[in-house]
């Protein structure tokens, strides 16, 4: 980047001395300003998100009180006698995320180890896009799959579990496969970045491929692996459609995966679907809950970025 712009400034200086092309240079400055404005739009987007969320959230806390919101165990904001305890939504979100991670972490890491350590370059070239294909499937399709195939055929049929149509388990497991490509692809990048000399050193000491993978490559790539997992968590927390379709909409303070739960995202989608009046408490709840979601994912992303930087610094 610097390399490209540096010659520009050194070359332009003598040319202006000869030609004095002042008109053209105002044009150049104008274009630069326009491009900067376009870049600024992304910052404005973030500001817009923060502003719109916090404005209504503050109004909401004026109505409800922050203590009741954060510690209340009942969530029924649209009832005649509304209760605004966000905990059932948070536990619902965490339950779904945990189930997804139980699927995504082992399978994602296994996939990454196979691709980085075992697969020949040509097989890797075929297998990696297949994993990425999974990441390109719209989440509503995963939701349909969880509801019409995974719950009745796999959970009820194959495993003989007595779960209702809407349950956290099905949504969570299918969401695990949605998150898996994120975990696998970032971990695989980190493992491929581990220098070959480390592997050769271990082989030279008599280690076999299993020992090299688990005791040399995985520990060396750990910060990248953690980054992949954290980004996976962030995707799972923010996922809406799979949960909305397959896990039902019961605000339920439970960690039982067989039950139906409501998450932060499903509450937002389900509430916004009905035409609610601006300024009503129900309207403000969307924002208060959205703020909770935003803060959770922002924290996850900040952690992930820190870990990614660490593994890049070590080997590049």
């Amino acid at each position: 980047m610097e390399a490209a712009s540096a010659p520009a400034s050194t070359l332009e200086a003598p040319r202006t001395l000869v030609l004095g092309a002042s008109r053209r240079r105002t044009g150049e400055a104008l274009i630069r300003a326009l491009l900067f404005c376009a870049a600024l739009l992304s910052v404005l987007t973030t500001l817009g998100i923060v502003f719109s969320l916090s404005k209504e959230t503050i109004a909401f806390f004026g109505d409800v009180g922050i203590g009741k919101f954060l510690t209340g165990t009942e969530w029924s904001p649209l009832f005649a006698d509304p209760k605004f305890g966000v905990l059932p939504l948070v536990t619902g979100t965490l339950l779904l995320t945990a189930i997804a991670l139980v699927v995504a972490i082992p399978l994602g890491l296994g996939t990454a180890i196979y691709l980085a350590e075992y697969a020949k370059p040509r097989t890797r070239k075929i297998l990696k896009p297949m994993i990425e294909l999974l990441a390109g499937v719209p989440t509503i399709v995963f939701g349909y799959f969880a509801l019409t195939y995974f719950t009745p055929e796999v959970l009820n049929g194959l495993l003989g579990l007595d779960v209702p149509v809407f349950n956290a388990l099905s949504g969570g497991i299918v969401m695990g496969f949605m998150v898996l490509p994120t975990v696998a692809s970032i971990s695989e990048d980190a493992m491929s970045a581990v220098p070959g000399s480390l592997r050769e050193g271990a082989f030279g000491l008599g280690a076999n491929k299993l020992q090299v993978s688990l005791r040399v490559v995985v520990p060396s790539a750990l910060s990248g692996i953690v980054a992949g997992i954290v980004l996976g968590v962030s995707r799972a927390i923010g996922e809406t459609m799979i949960v909305l379709i397959a896990a039902g909409q019961q605000p339920n303070l439970t960690f039982d995966p067989r039950e139906s739960v409501e998450t932060i995202t499903t509450f937002i989608a389900a509430t916004a679907k009905g035409d609610i009046a601006s300024g009503s408490t129900a309207y403000k709840t969307i924002f208060a809950v959205g703020m909770t979601l935003f803060v959770m994912t922002l924290a996850m992303n900040a952690i992930a970025i820190r870990f990614v930087r660490r593994y890049r610094q070590v080997y590049e």
Partner: protein, 297 residues
């Protein structure tokens, strides 16, 4: 590099070797699990949806009777929204990418802020963009109402980071010698960008735009929040105003999934087959562009 030490170990410990083979197979199975799920998913959707995938699906309007229900307004809604999205993300995304790659001095804090911010935007849940659209575009300062323009812009903001990030990569791949040559011939910086750098990076930028649009087509949650209609009996008639209410393919699919009857689930599956078909074509086009027009400098 690995065979030599392994073969000397073989005589030492057969158990270790069995363990190593078992591990290798376990890792392969992890990878195959994804393939299995992808296969089952496609099998399930095709099995349910193919019988209903016919011209009536595309030409009919939604109906409470499954035999007469179709998704024409949703299809047109998606086309309108993606059109708005395209018109928005191409200029803004490319301009941002050009600014960050060609002009921005990354030692300045505001330029670093823009970069970090774009990384963060890419990871914000899509439903939060829906809330932004609801608060700013549908109601609040802009107050467009539940119209095509609001839906398209919301999705545009959502996928903008994809365009910016791939655009930057495409621009970075143009070697500095091209720029130096252009400027040595007397071109200004903008002339160099407009006549040399951007034309050379078109395949990369186009690939990014197609991938961004294919993400936008499948997004459901933000459109639910922004207020896409699940039951609508007309095609969108404009960007804003009374006739600009809209539905979209994934919204229609979701609406059908929510119905208890199996016939509607089959319609949903047919809609999914249509959606996946469009996505396969778009991704195929992206891969073709990348391979066909890739410049080797």
């Amino acid at each position: 590099m690995s065979t030599q030490p392994q073969s000397s170990l073989r005589s030492v410990s057969g158990a270790a070797r069995t363990k190593a083979i078992a591990f290798r197979i376990a890792m392969l199975l992890c990878l195959m699990a994804s393939a299995l799920v992808l296969g089952l998913l496609i099998f399930d959707v095709l099995g349910d949806g193919l019988p209903k995938l016919n011209s009536a699906l595309v030409s009919n309007f939604p109906s409470s009777q499954s035999a007469r229900a179709g998704l024409q307004p949703a299809l047109f809604g998606t086309i309108w929204i993606i059109g708005v999205c395209l018109v928005f993300i191409v200029p803004v995304g490319v301009a941002t990418a050009v600014y960050l790659e060609e002009y921005a001095d990354s030692s300045k804090w505001w330029n670093r802020l823009i970069e970090v911010n774009i990384q963060n935007l890419a990871a914000i849940p899509s439903i939060v963009y829906g809330i932004l659209g609801l608060a700013f575009l549908v109601r609040g300062p802009v107050s467009l109402g539940r119209v095509v323009l609001a839906g398209g812009l919301t999705l545009g903001l959502l996928v903008l980071p994809v365009v910016i990030i791939s655009g930057r990569e495409a621009i970075r791949a143009v070697p500095p010698s091209i720029r130096e040559g252009s400027m040595a011939l007397g071109a200004t910086q903008w002339q160099t960008i407009w006549k040399q750098v951007l034309p050379a990076s078109i395949p990369g930028v186009a690939t990014g735009v197609i991938l961004a649009l294919s993400r936008a087509i499948g997004e459901t949650a933000p459109l639910i929040v922004v207020g896409a209609a699940t039951f609508i009996t007309f095609n969108p008639g404009g960007l804003v105003g009374d006739s600009a209410g809209f539905s979209a393919l994934p919204i229609q699919i979701y609406s059908w999934i929510s119905q208890p009857q199996d016939e509607f689930k089959q319609l949903a599956a047919a809609g999914i087959v249509l959606l996946l078909g469009v996505l396969v074509i778009m991704n195929g086009a992206a891969i073709y562009l990348r391979n066909r027009y890739e410049n080797k400098w």
